[in-house]
């Protein structure tokens, strides 16, 4: 077959030129502000906050979703939800959400939040949408497990795991003074990061790791895994 290939700078869906600032995702800072992050690994830049009083967030290449004290927000859509913490996992164009205070699951799709009936045994640490269902990282007395929604165990994590993020093709968890990327084949990358209390999907290829002293960005791009520090935001605080 004969192929003819021409070249042109792309015109994106929004009519922009084929060159743009690289948007890495959104960072949740330690004071609950959600800030867009641009740049490349090691050279991050923060834009002005797009939301405050955020307790959990997740971003993919396609969209971002966040939970504040009282609502789930994505783009211009929002829905009132119970107060307290949440676990969010983006699954394609939708997202799974677990509300820790009420132990309720829900599905966010097309700007609408729909309750999901799931019964799990243990403390929910993370979710992973699989298209067909959801996997859940659970802390039980017996340890930390990754289970399907029907309870089938698919993997386990160290007993001292403090935070987990289930990505499509890998698992990121914090145990002791290490931040670990476990690949689908079971191999692991370990990075020194003590005291991680929470993990968020910052954007495509990046995981945010929050500690009391610093906020890290873990690049999980295949073959380019690396841990960076995220700059502290210099934005006016509300009092």
């Amino acid at each position: 077959m004969r192929l003819a290939v021409a070249v042109a700078m792309a015109v994106c869906a929004h009519g922009q030129a084929g060159l743009m600032r690289p948007v890495l995702g959104e960072m949740l800072d330690r004071e609950g502000a959600l800030l867009p992050v641009t740049g490349v690994g090691g050279s991050f830049q923060l834009d002005a906050p797009v939301a405050r009083d955020v307790v959990a967030s997740a971003c993919s290449r396609d969209f971002c979703i966040a939970k504040t004290e009282s609502a789930v927000v994505s783009g211009t859509s929002s829905a009132a939800v119970p107060a307290g913490g949440a676990v969010i996992a983006i699954d394609g164009s939708s997202a799974w959400i677990y509300f820790s205070a009420t132990r309720q699951f829900a599905r966010w799709r097309d700007g609408t939040l729909t309750p999901a009936s799931l019964d799990v045994d243990g403390e929910v640490l993370a979710l992973r949408g699989t298209g067909a269902g959801v996997q859940i990282a659970l802390r039980r007395e017996s340890g930390v497990w990754i289970a399907r929604e029907d309870g089938t165990i698919v993997d386990s994590l160290p007993w001292n795991t403090s935070a987990v993020l289930l990505l499509a093709h890998s698992t990121v968890y914090s145990a002791g003074e290490a931040l670990v990327v476990r690949k689908a084949d079971g191999s692991e990358f370990r990075f020194a990061a003590a005291g991680v209390t929470a993990l968020f999907a910052m954007g495509e290829g990046y995981v945010e790791a929050m500690t009391p002293q610093a906020v890290y960005a873990l690049r999980v791009i295949e073959g380019r895994e690396q841990l960076f520090a995220l700059p502290q935001a210099r934005v006016p605080r509300r009092h």
């Binding site: 192929l3 290939v5 084929g18 740049g39 490349v40 502290q232």
Partner: protein, 453 residues
């Protein structure tokens, strides 16, 4: 030092009545007779005596003669005679005596037609020398200088007293003045005997200190300077010996010696880009502060500063070639300038990520990266079909696009997300991979066998 003045009633300056006084150290005038006893002076030391000829009359008194005769005496002022002393004015005459071998000395001082017999006794005395820790006594002033001593520390000066006379001496030694200390003591020195003693200078503040060492009637001015303690020159160290753009580097601030004091301040960085004054890079910051400075603290005894409360401070080098300058400022003086430079060289384009996607009738290649030379644009794409055959290369020049892009947001660095679309005639599913070559002014970066999805 005693100063003396000749009174007019005793020394007739011309025909009119004049008054001559002695002038002591406080400026008090005392009439002088035909002789004047200037007291004593230690052998080897000198003594200055001031006479004052005052004209209380209504007309000027011409000065026709000023003479002094006598061994070891000299007139030190005036060096030349004024023509007269105006009404109400006076003329000071300073006479110096250099003490010789112990004996009584005399001299005749004559002003115009008036003479005064001046008497002075050179008495045996111990000679003072500095052994260590200071300098002096100054031959002219007798001043002993302790130099510069850091506040909180001490400088010790060791002196020697030598009795070069043939008779025993008792010397009373004492010190006055804030910051100078020695126990008051009397030393008995046999002929040719000597003794050493110490004076300690301990400045309490950063200032000039003055004192006096008294040896019997002899006085030696003491001087010393208190220096505020200096912070040993910090060394600014980086954990990467060959830093480049797009990196996070940890800065540590170490001291070559334990700090004698507590100190605090900030380490600041500035960035001078290669490509032009108006192109900054806001990514060049310390991550702990999100700014171009980070606070430091040092406790006494520390050999390493805490930067933002941590042992090290991570900073971003940004995505622009140039030079970073690190400066240190704080609340205490630093021994020397610790300013440190870090050069970020121009490099070929850096690629963080790349994807290749098949679309209906087209192929998309996306690249995330940066060009710290701001000269990107020339590139080439070589495709591979499912059999591994090459299609291309397809050259492209997007220099003007990059130029416009970089110019649209100056100061934000050179990061970019580039999407290039290739319209395809035929089945794009036959294309399996692409090689991408990205050129800038430094060189070419290659992405090989990027698989289409």
């Amino acid at each position: 030092m005693l100063r003396v003045l000749l009174a007019a009633g005793l020394l007739a300056l011309a025909a009119s009545a004049q008054v001559l006084y002695s002038v002591d150290g406080s400026g008090t005038e005392t009439p002088v007779g035909s002789s004047y006893n200037a007291g004593s002076v230690a052998a080897g030391a000198s003594k200055s005596t001031r006479f004052r000829a005052r004209n209380p009359g209504n007309s000027a008194i011409p000065v026709t003669k000023l003479a002094l005769s006598g061994t070891n005496f000299s007139i030190t002022s005036p060096l030349s005679l004024p023509p007269n002393i105006a009404p109400g004015n006076f003329l000071d005459i300073d006479v110096n005596f250099q003490g010789g071998v112990p004996a009584q000395y005399s001299a005749s001082l004559q002003i115009n037609t008036i003479s005064v017999l001046m008497l002075i006794t050179s008495v045996p005395a111990a000679s003072l020398t500095v052994l260590s820790g200071c300098t002096g006594p100054d031959p002219a002033t007798g001043t002993i200088d302790f130099g510069k001593v850091q506040v909180g520390q001490s400088g010790t000066c060791t002196f020697s007293l030598l009795n070069g006379n043939t008779q025993a001496l008792t010397v009373a030694a004492s010190v006055t003045g804030l910051g100078f200390k020695m126990p008051a003591q009397s030393y008995v020195l046999p002929p040719s005997g000597s003794v050493s003693f110490n004076v300690v200078f301990t400045p309490g503040t950063g200032a000039l200190f003055l004192g006096t060492l008294m040896l019997d009637a002899r006085s030696f001015p003491l001087t010393g300077t208190g220096l505020n303690p200096l912070l040993p020159t910090p060394m600014l160290l980086f954990d990467n010996p060959a830093p480049q753009s797009g990196q996070q580097i940890t800065l540590t601030m170490r001291l070559p010696a334990a700090s004698p004091i507590a100190a605090s301040g900030s380490v600041s960085l500035s960035f001078q880009p290669d490509v032009g004054q108006n192109i900054g890079d806001t990514a060049v910051v310390f991550v702990a502060t999100g700014a171009r400075s980070v606070p430091y603290t040092i406790k006494p005894g520390d050999t390493q500063a805490q930067l933002g409360g941590q042992a090290g401070a991570v900073f971003q080098t940004g995505t622009t070639s140039g030079r970073m300058t690190f400066t240190v400022s704080g609340n205490v003086p630093i021994a020397s300038d610790p300013t440190t430079f870090l050069v970020l060289p121009p490099v070929p384009m850096a690629v963080e990520n790349a994807t290749a996607t098949r679309q209906a009738g087209s192929l998309d290649v996306q690249v995330w990266g940066f060009d710290n030379t701001y000269s990107a644009g020339s590139m080439s794409f070589t495709f591979y079909d499912l059999a591994g055959n090459r299609v291309g290369p397809v050259p492209a020049n997007f220099t003007s696009d990059f130029h416009a892009y970089f110019g649209s947001a100056p100061g934000t660095g050179s990061t970019f997300q580039m999407r290039v679309t290739f319209p395809v005639t035929g089945d794009s599913g036959q294309i399996s991979a692409v090689d991408v070559q990205l050129a800038n002014s430094v060189g070419t970066t290659s992405i090989t066998q990027l698989q289409f999805h």
